[in-house]
Structure formats: structure tokens, C-alpha cells
């Protein structure tokens, strides 16, 4: 219920704020040479002549009927466009997320277990570089190295896996790497710090004294107890990745949700922006829900509460 209220407030705020942005969708669609009668025709056709709140509640009513409306800048049903673009974004975000989780958490564990050593310092340096390096710049550097110098990967573009799986993978390598590196660094740092908090707990010492294997201590006793903050960061990151891939999509010319939102904002296609925000809000809400469920799985005491 809380999530539904949040989503409602977010969409209402976006709708109202977009009205304050100078420029309008019809003039932008028709171009500056449009006549008054042309503008009037399309303004009525898309319902922009109605009061803002009427437009908003009409849109809201349409959602209950499963209709998101029609995009003026794309001349397509918005639901069709969003489904298509969300699939593209997820095809980049999910592999990046999995890679970031696997490598980030592993490196965090290694760093924590080797606290104060050269390896720990090295991992921390890499993590800091990963976090501080602008994705935009890193993406361009990767294009320069792997496409323009080594000629082993394409510079940009997107290929649907069903069209050509090999080409799809080749086109995804660089964007997934850029996206994964930033989040991998965050997961690594969070895992390290959470692990360090539990590493010297009494129950760990007891497990060691009982002769429990190092692997079991690490994964069953230490990592499991350190997981709550890590999962919290992961949940927030997944939501942020879906809504925040715009830089990566822009550099690598990926027709995803981020690129769609930017184009829609430029074209003042408010209905696409509104529906895009709705989709992102739902994704974030679902991520939070999954995190809440995972808390109970990780720590049964939370479930019992």
C-alpha cells in the first residue's frame, strides 16, 4: 500500500513538474514551420487542450483499463514502446547486476579476509577507481581501446538476442562492463565493511574452536550475518540501474528505457515521460519488496517479528 501511495505521488509530481518545462510536444513534433491550425489540430487530437488535472486523471483512468496512451513523438502506443525498451534495458542491467554481485561480493570477502595486506589495498584501490571513474568517460575509453584500436568489439549499437545471439553478446560486452564496474565497486566496499564487522564476533571464534572448516565459517557464519546491509545496497542498486542506465545507453547507442526517457524529455512528450517514470517507480518498489522478503530469508528473526 505504501508503495502504491509513493508511486501515485511520484507520477503526480512528475506530471505537474513537466507542465512547467518550456516548450510543448505539438510544436516540437510539427516543427517551427507549423501553422496555428496544424498546432490546434494535433493539440486536440492528443488532448493537450484540456486542463492539466483532467489530463492526469484521464491518464490514470486509462491505466486501469490497461491503456497508457499514444506517444506524439513516436506515433506509437506507449505501452508497446515501453515494453520493448524495458526489455532492452533489462538485457543490459541484469547481466551487469549479476556480474557486479558475483565479482563485487567475492572481492569484498577476499579483501575482508586479508585485511591490511597488499591484496586488500589493491582491491580497495580498484573499488575506489571503479566508483569514482565517470561511466561516460570509461565507456568512451573502452570504445577507443576495444573498437578503434584493437578492433575486437563493436563501438555501439544493440542487437536483439533472438536475431543474432553472438552479435548480441559482442554488442553487450562493453556496456555491461561499464555498468557492472561501478556497482561492483559499491558491492565490494559494502561486503568488505560488513564482513569486517562480523569477522571477530564470538560465534566465529567459537566455530573456529569447534574445528568448523574455513569455507563454512566464511559463507555460513560470516557472510550470512553480513548479508543484510549488502542486500539492502543491492536492492537499491538494481532499481537505480534500471532508471539510471541513461549514460551507458547514450554512449553505446542502446535503445533502452533511459534513451527513451531522454528523447521524450527533449521532445516534450510528457506522456512517455510519465509512463516511463511509472515503470521505473514500479521496478524500484518491486526491488524494495524483494529486499524485504530476502531479509526474512536471511534472518528468520525478522520474519518472526
Amino acid at each position: 500500500m505504501q508503495s502504491v501511495i509513493v508511486i501515485f505521488i511520484v507520477t503526480l509530481m512528475v506530471f505537474l513538474l513537466m507542465q512547467l518545462v518550456p516548450g510543448d510536444a505539438v510544436t516540437n513534433f510539427l516543427g517551427a514551420s507549423a501553422t496555428e491550425s496544424q498546432i490546434e489540430y494535433y493539440t486536440k487530437l492528443f488532448g493537450y487542450d484540456q486542463p492539466v488535472l483532467v489530463q492526469y486523471f484521464k491518464w490514470l483512468g486509462g491505466l486501469f483499463r490497461g491503456e497508457m496512451g499514444r506517444s506524439i513523438s513516436l506515433q506509437m502506443e506507449i505501452s508497446d514502446v515501453l515494453v520493448q525498451r524495458l526489455q532492452v534495458t533489462l538485457s543490459i542491467v541484469l547481466p551487469a547486476f549479476v556480474i557486479a554481485v558475483v565479482i563485487g561480493v567475492s572481492l569484498g570477502i577476499v579483501a575482508a579476509k586479508n585485511r591490511g595486506t597488499v591484496l586488500d589495498s589493491l582491491i580497495s584501490v580498484v573499488a575506489n577507481i571503479g566508483m569514482s571513474m565517470p561511466m561516460f568517460w570509461f565507456g568512451l575509453m573502452l570504445i577507443l581501446v576495444f573498437a578503434n584500436i584493437l578492433h575486437i568489439l563493436p563501438t555501439s549499437g544493440y542487437v536483439y538476442p533472438q536475431d543474432d545471439l553472438g552479435a548480441a553478446i559482442r554488442h553487450s560486452v562493453l556496456p555491461v562492463t561499464v555498468l557492472a564496474l561501478n556497482y561492483m565497486s559499491q558491492f565490494c566496499r559494502q561486503t568488505r565493511s560488513s564482513m569486517l564487522e562480523v569477522i571477530r564476533q564470538d560465534y566465529v571464534t567459537t566455530a573456529k574452536a569447534k574445528g568448523v572448516s574455513a569455507r563454512t565459517i566464511t559463507f555460513r557464519h560470516q557472510l550470512r550475518n553480513a548479508l543484510i546491509p549488502i542486500v539492502t545496497v543491492m536492492g537499491a542498486s538494481l532499481g537505480a540501474m534500471v532508471g539510471g542506465t541513461v549514460l551507458v545507453e547514450s554512449v553505446f547507442v542502446i535503445p533502452g528505457l533511459g534513451n527513451l526517457m531522454i528523447s521524450a524529455i527533449k521532445a516534450r512528450d510528457f506522456m512517455v515521460v510519465e509512463n516511463g517514470v511509472l515503470v521505473i517507480s514500479v521496478v524500484v518498489a518491486v526491488c524494495n519488496l524483494v529486499v524485504d522478503v530476502l531479509y526474512g530469508v536471511i534472518d528468520p528473526r525478522i520474519r518472526n517479528d
Binding site: 518545462v21 518550456p22 516548450g23 510543448d24 510544436t27 516540437n28 513534433f29 510539427l30 516543427g31 517551427a32 514551420s33 507549423a34 501553422t35 496555428e36 491550425s37 496544424q38 489540430y41 513523438s73 513516436l74 506515433q75 506509437m76 514502446v81 577476499v110 586479508n114 595486506t117 597488499v118 591484496l119 589493491l122 582491491i123 580498484v126 577507481i129 568512451l140 575509453m141 570504445i143 577507443l144 581501446v145 573498437a147 578503434n148 584500436i149 584493437l150 578492433h151 563493436p154 563501438t155 555501439s156 549499437g157 544493440y158 547514450s250 554512449v251 553505446f252 547507442v253 535503445p255 534513451n259 527513451l260 528523447s263 527533449k266 521532445a267 516534450r268
Partner: protein, 549 residues
Amino acid sequence: MKKTGRAKRSMALLLALCMGFCLLMAGCASKPEVESPGTSGAPSAAPGASQDVSSPSGPKQGGVLRYASGNGIVSPGYTPECTNNASLLFLTTAYESLVTYAEDGSTVGLLATGWEIDADEPSITWTLRENVKFADGEPFNAEAVKRNIEEYQSKERTETAVITAMEVIDDTHIKMVLSNWSSSAVESIGFFVYYMSPKALEDVDALRTSSCGTGPFQVSEFNPGVSIKYTKNANYWQEGKPYLDGVEIYVVEQQTTLSSAFQAGEYDMIMLADMTIASDLMAMGSTASGTIVNETNTNGQGLTICGLIPNSADAGSPFADARVRRAMALAVDSKAICDAFGYGVYTPTDQWATPEAITYNTDITPLGYDQDKARALLAEAGYPDGFNTTLTVSPYVSDYFTAAAAMLDEVGIHCELNMVDNATEVSMYSTGNWEGIMGHYATISPDLGLYMGRHLDYNGTFYAAGIQHPEDHMELLEKIRASSDEKEKLDYEWQLQALIYDQETGSALFGKPLLVIKNMYYKYDYLKDDGRAVCEANIWSIADAWMDK
């Protein structure tokens, strides 16, 4: 334990190697040397010079042309909704109009083989090309023309608003009766209406994402905002053409990525908007894919003109006074700006035309560059200490407008730069709602009556609401439009240029035209054409294009 230590060392070494490799490769990447403006040793494809692309072996059949630019299209198949200049490239790939432009900028028949003008009635009778079919096999005839004009009129298109009646004489002749005569009518009706199959028009929604014209290629795949793919039209009327099997057009807004992809050979041709990146490409000269050619023209067709347009409609604005507008024009050194930022692609101009265009009046004494005179004019107008104002520009063209602002500052016109995105800019100049000066950036047309009408008319759509409409200017514009004699029309066009930009008498109504930007289309030398240039913005003669590789 020993094994664990070795694993740690291996992992550390691997990480270090990865980092080092990336940094080394980035460091080794050689930045192309950018030539200083004015130095010799121009890139192999000198901008402004036509490229000799003829091949002794003649045109080759086959191949798919891959072209990329930052411009997309909304509905490539339903032509009345394609209203801006960027659409022309897509339109002319699948569709054709009654007339097109020859390389010298003159109007020539395409789907029409001729036309008769009766300026008294007034009317135009078109003779249509025979044996032309739409991609779906439907014949192109007078009925099809009538149906398309009606479709354009139902969408309130200005180009067809002047037509009050149509009479189908026979399959190849149609008479259009006009509400009033305009010398731009042939160009307006002839070039800006793109003919769709009447059968395809029965399902407009389907047509929006496909195409059904008489053009050399037809849409085979459309991904809005991403790409559009065309395949050869089997029913194309020009024998042996098109040479290519297909055309793929990609939308790549990020200019650095666009340039990198071109260099990597992923595209055969691109259009750049960023001058710095374009200059890097020109300096590079060639890549593993071939020699880079700057596809350009000089006839004024489809070029971009930039200038400073002050809001003169606001009676409280200093720019309502012609002396202040003249001072503004005199304060800016167009040549210096072109030398500094143009890399040979910019041409200074002092009229609303490129110096090579037919409508450029060579008899005019230009306003020129004279800051002392500018200061004197400002003092005479009551601004001896100058004044503060705003200069609104879009980010892509901010460099030279920043320079112009600095020059204006030297004479006392202190500009605060206001950077806005395209939609805001369109909103400002279409409503006249801008304060101070607007940085103008638009495609120019050699037909001054058509082009200036958008500004000068009381209800013009470009800047018109923000500028004055003096009687003498309006009268000349009407004379240009009413003229049915090309020579007479040209004479009036030259008079209008003088009225606006002459040193002694001009009103400087449109402030200061700064420069003309030649097309920043880049292609590899293996992409050739059979006669005209492959792409000159308004003339995308894609049926003539072929690839020698």
C-alpha cells in the same frame, strides 16, 4: 597455505595487468592532429571542393549503405506528418515529389515532366511522368496526385493550403487552381508533397511504420528513434536504379560515439553536428576503411545559416531602434569567428544567403565590422554606456556565439548567455517570446520569398512574432511572391537583401547573419554517386549512389 598465497599473488597480478593494459591502450591512442585554421595541408577531402568520385568501371550494383546521424523520424511512411528538414532524407529514400533541385539549386522535374503556370487565373497544370508505379504496383497518375494533395490539406499542411480546386484532365495531367499566385508555389507544392499509394492511404496507421511510394527504396524495418532499414523498390521507374540493394539509417545522437563508429568502419556515411569532432575527422584524412570525404556543396541548397536575431518587436527593447541593431551587426567580426571555429567549413556571410547563392546581392556594400562605428551608433541611440541583454543559444552552437557575445561586450552590449535545449528554442522563436538576442541556426533556402516569408510575414512561424514588420519590407516580399518572371523575382530578392543589409540604408532587421555552415556529411571514398552528390541535405539522390568496394 602455500597454495592460497599463490592464488592471492596470481589474482593481484591479473588485476594489475588488466589495469595496466587499459591505461596503456588509452595512452597509446593517438589524437588526430588538428590543423590550425588558415594553415596549408588541407585534409585529402578539402571542404568546399567537389570530390571526383567517378570510376572508370562505372557504377556497381549491390551492397547496403549504412548511414548514421543524430536525426530520427517519427513516421517514415505517412508523409504529411514529416514536417521538418531532417525528414527529407528519409522521405526522399522511399518517396518522390513532383520536382526536385538540380545541383545548381534550380528546380527540375522528378515525378512531373513539366508544368504550365497561369499567374492570372492563377493555376499550375502539371504534366506527370508516365509508367511510374508505386511500390505496391498501383499506378502513379493524376488521381493519385489529387488524393495525396487532399490528404495533405486534411492535415493542414501550409504547402497545399493555397490550392482551392483540382481538375484531373487525364492520367498524366492535373490542373491546380490557387487562391492567389505565389512565385514559390511550384517549389512549395512541387517539392514538399511526397506521393503515397492511394491504396496504402486506406490504412494510415500501417503506413506510419512502413512506406509505399515511388522512390528507389522502401521501408523494410522500422525501429523508432533507433534505426530504419530500406530495401530496393522492385517497381522503381528509373531503369537500372537504384544500384544499392538497401539503405540502413541509424540514429546516433552521441557525437563521439558516432565518430568512433565511423572510424571503425561501422558506417559508410555520417552527419556530424559537433564542429570539434568534425574537425578531428577532417584532420585524420583516412582510416583503415578508406579516405574520408566531406560531402558538401556551395549553391546555398540545404546549408545552415547562423546569425544573431534581436527582438525588435518589443518597444521597450533597445533593439527596437534600427541604430542599435546596426551597432550590434557592426560589432561582430564574422570572418574572425569563421577562422577561429570554422576549420574551413564555415563561410562568413553578411546577407541572408550563402555568397555563392543566386539570391546573394553582390552590389550591396555590406555592414562589415567596425566597432568604433558601433559605439557611435549606440551613443547616438541613447546608449553611450551600453546596456545589458541576453543571448539565447543552443549548446551545439555555443562556441561562436560565445565569441560573438565577447565582441558585443567590447562595444557595450553586455550579453548574458542563456543556453536552452531545442524544444525551448523552438518555443521561443515560434512565439516571439525571447528577450534580447537569439542565436539563429537553420537550414537556408535559395528562394528568398519562401524563406524570408517565414520571418517577415505578420503570422510567420520563425521569429516573426519577435520582429518588426516594416511596410517597405512587406511590399517587397509581396512583389517577390507575386512575380511570375524569374528575372524580375530575382531583382526583387536582391532589393530585399539591400533593404535589410545595406551599409547605408539597411534596417538590420534580422540583426547579423554570421556564417554559413556547409554540410558536415562524411563518407568513405568507396561510396560514390552517378552524377549528383549523394547527399546535400535537401538533395539525397540515393538512387544514384553506389559502392565501389
